[in-house]
């Protein structure tokens, strides 16, 4: 058990890193997802290949020089290939990307994500958000997607205002029917716990809580009813080892908070 206080970003990065298996490929955005992937690479997944949507395959993290965008020079540190943006995504469409990481302003009970507009009319938004970037493509084309997010009631809504990135759509085979051949969100990793989806309905359910968090607390902070697995697990807290490695990657605490 770590003796120092763990920030929400550190918790998400550690829990996210544990989802990644060795000898796989992961689409990682800048910030916490990139740190999660780099941590996995250093600890248990040395043959993990990171892919960044600016058009980068196999970059490495240079502590203190973390990129703030997916297509600046710093993001390509020691990369193996710079194939161009369209071709990078086409590796995913062909099925070569095992994992994708995502975040979002709104998430619904089927794991769909909104990063486009708040409000009911796309063309007259109450709040205009930056947009999909590659998120829609990652959600559509990676074999497995992990959402990493702060757990807040205003974020976990029954129905997103706008489906920017599809997970299970309206559940029950809707994703396949829309023409998406594989993939989907498998886990939602939040600051309170870890969530999966009922195999039939594809509604979100509680799989694990972080230490000290109750199931009730999670329900109180979620805007829709959550199922739960028969035996809700408790996650192992970030270890000293995980935290020291993670903190060494971002010594300026640009993303770790």
């Amino acid at each position: 058990m770590a003796t120092t206080t763990v920030t929400p970003s550190e918790l998400l990065a550690v829990m996210g890193s544990r989802q990644l298996k060795d000898d796989t490929t992961v689409f990682a955005g800048v910030g916490v997802p990139l740190l999660a992937a780099a941590l996995a690479q250093q600890r248990h997944a040395p043959k993990l290949t990171m892919v960044i949507e600016g058009g980068i395959i196999g970059p490495q993290i240079r502590p203190g020089r973390l990129p703030v965008s997916t297509n600046e020079m710093r993001a390509a540190h020691r990369a193996q290939m710079l194939p161009g943006i369209t071709d990078t995504f086409l590796y995913a469409q062909r099925g070569f990307l095992d994992y994708g990481f995502m975040g979002g302003a709104q998430i619904d009970q089927y794991g769909n994500i909104n990063t486009s507009v708040v409000g009911s009319d796309y063309w007259k938004p109450k709040v205009r958000l930056p947009g999909t970037g590659g998120a829609n493509d990652i959600a559509s084309l990676c074999r497995e997607v992990f959402i990493l997010t702060a757990h807040e009631k205003r974020r976990f809504v029954p129905r997103v205002d706008f489906v920017t990135s599809p997970a299970w759509l309206s559940g029950d085979g809707a994703r396949r029917k829309a023409g998406l051949l594989f993939g989907g969100v498998s886990r939602v990793v939040t600051t309170l716990g870890i969530f999966g989806f009922e195999p039939e309905t594809r509604r979100m359910r509680i799989e694990a809580t972080h230490p000290g968090v109750t199931v009730e607390q999670i329900r109180d902070n979620t805007g829709f009813p959550l199922g739960e697995v028969e035996r809700v697990a408790v996650t192992d807290p970030p270890s000293d080892d995980e935290l020291s490695m993670l903190r060494a990657l971002d010594p300026e605490r640009r993303f770790l908070g």
Partner: protein, 291 residues
């Protein structure tokens, strides 16, 4: 270029943006434009604030994570002054690839099932072999492509160091291609490294030598983006509001300088050298023979 054109800008976010060309478009006070760019940054903000565009087509818009959600974008889109048509990053790239291939659409597996389908009017098509549902990503043929490259010869053969982004597809897709280059090299130098050429000269309508032509954005191995400049710009927007702050920015950085040198003088040699040193430290060995 003329008013009402559909214009695409090369590079991506704050990398290899054709900023010198964007400033010239603004200096000429073009209006009614549609601007397309896969990830849109300050060039899109300036176009919005100057009243040059009434529509932007993009996958994402803001400067970058440290500077937050673009207040300029929010202001112009939420008040209905500018329409923001959103496509996924891959679909956006395939729109230029389709056009660059000379076909009306490309089948793809992205954007399906999402609400993005309805925004730009993307349709689906049944695979004629299996009946499976596919996205039919429509080709985008812009009137004008504005690109900034690493080096070119006088015939317009262009080489790009680092990220290729979508510039090669954009050059094939657009009716008119205008290029600025960091460095003008000899015919011989291009012929020595033909494997590096990504845009053949016969696609290019106009070529302008413009070292620092992307500044305050960055160019691979030549100069780093000016993050302090972004911070000053966004701080002024925070302090004085979008319309006042960006109007003053346009006056100072677009309309006041009478030459490109005058523009660079607003930053000063020390600052430009720091940007060069930072780029060389990150990506050694790119700097040109003339640097």
């Amino acid at each position: 270029m003329k008013d009402g054109d559909h214009v695409v800008a090369g590079g991506c976010l704050f990398t290899r943006t054709p900023m010198a060309l964007v400033r010239e478009v603004l200096r000429q006070r073009r209006a009614g434009l549609t601007l397309s760019r896969n990830l849109m940054c300050t060039e899109g903000e300036l176009m919005m604030a100057a009243g040059a565009v009434n529509r932007v087509v993009t996958a994402w818009m803001s400067i970058g994570l440290p500077w937050g959600v673009s207040k300029v974008m929010r202001h112009y889109v939420e008040t209905g002054k500018v329409a923001l048509e959103e496509w996924s990053h891959l679909a956006f790239g395939l729109r230029f690839r389709a056009a660059g291939m000379g076909v009306p659409f490309l089948p793809a597996l992205t954007m399906l099932g999402s609400d993005l389908m309805g925004v730009g009017g993307m349709k689906t098509i049944a695979d004629p072999y299996t009946g499976e549902t596919l996205a039919a990503v429509p080709a985008l043929f812009p009137d004008v492509a504005l690109l900034h490259v690493s080096r070119a010869d006088r015939f317009g053969n262009c080489q790009i160091d680092g990220y290729p982004h979508m510039d090669n597809d954009m050059a094939r897709a657009a009716a008119t291609v205008i290029v600025t280059t960091e460095e003008l090299v000899t015919d011989e130098e291009i012929r020595r490294r033909p494997d590096r050429t990504v845009i053949p000269g016969f696609l290019v309508d106009a070529l302008v030598l413009a070292p620092f032509g992307a500044y305050p954005h960055e160019v691979w191995g030549r100069y780093h983006a000016d993050f302090d400049h972004f911070a000053e710009y966004t701080a002024d927007i925070d302090a004085r509001g979008v319309t006042t702050a960006v109007a003053d920015y346009l006056a100072k950085y677009v309309h006041a300088p009478t030459t490109f040198e005058d523009y660079l003088d607003l930053f000063g040699g020390e600052r430009l050298k720091r940007a060069q040193d930072a780029a060389r430290e990150l990506v050694p060995g790119v700097s040109s023979a003339h640097a």
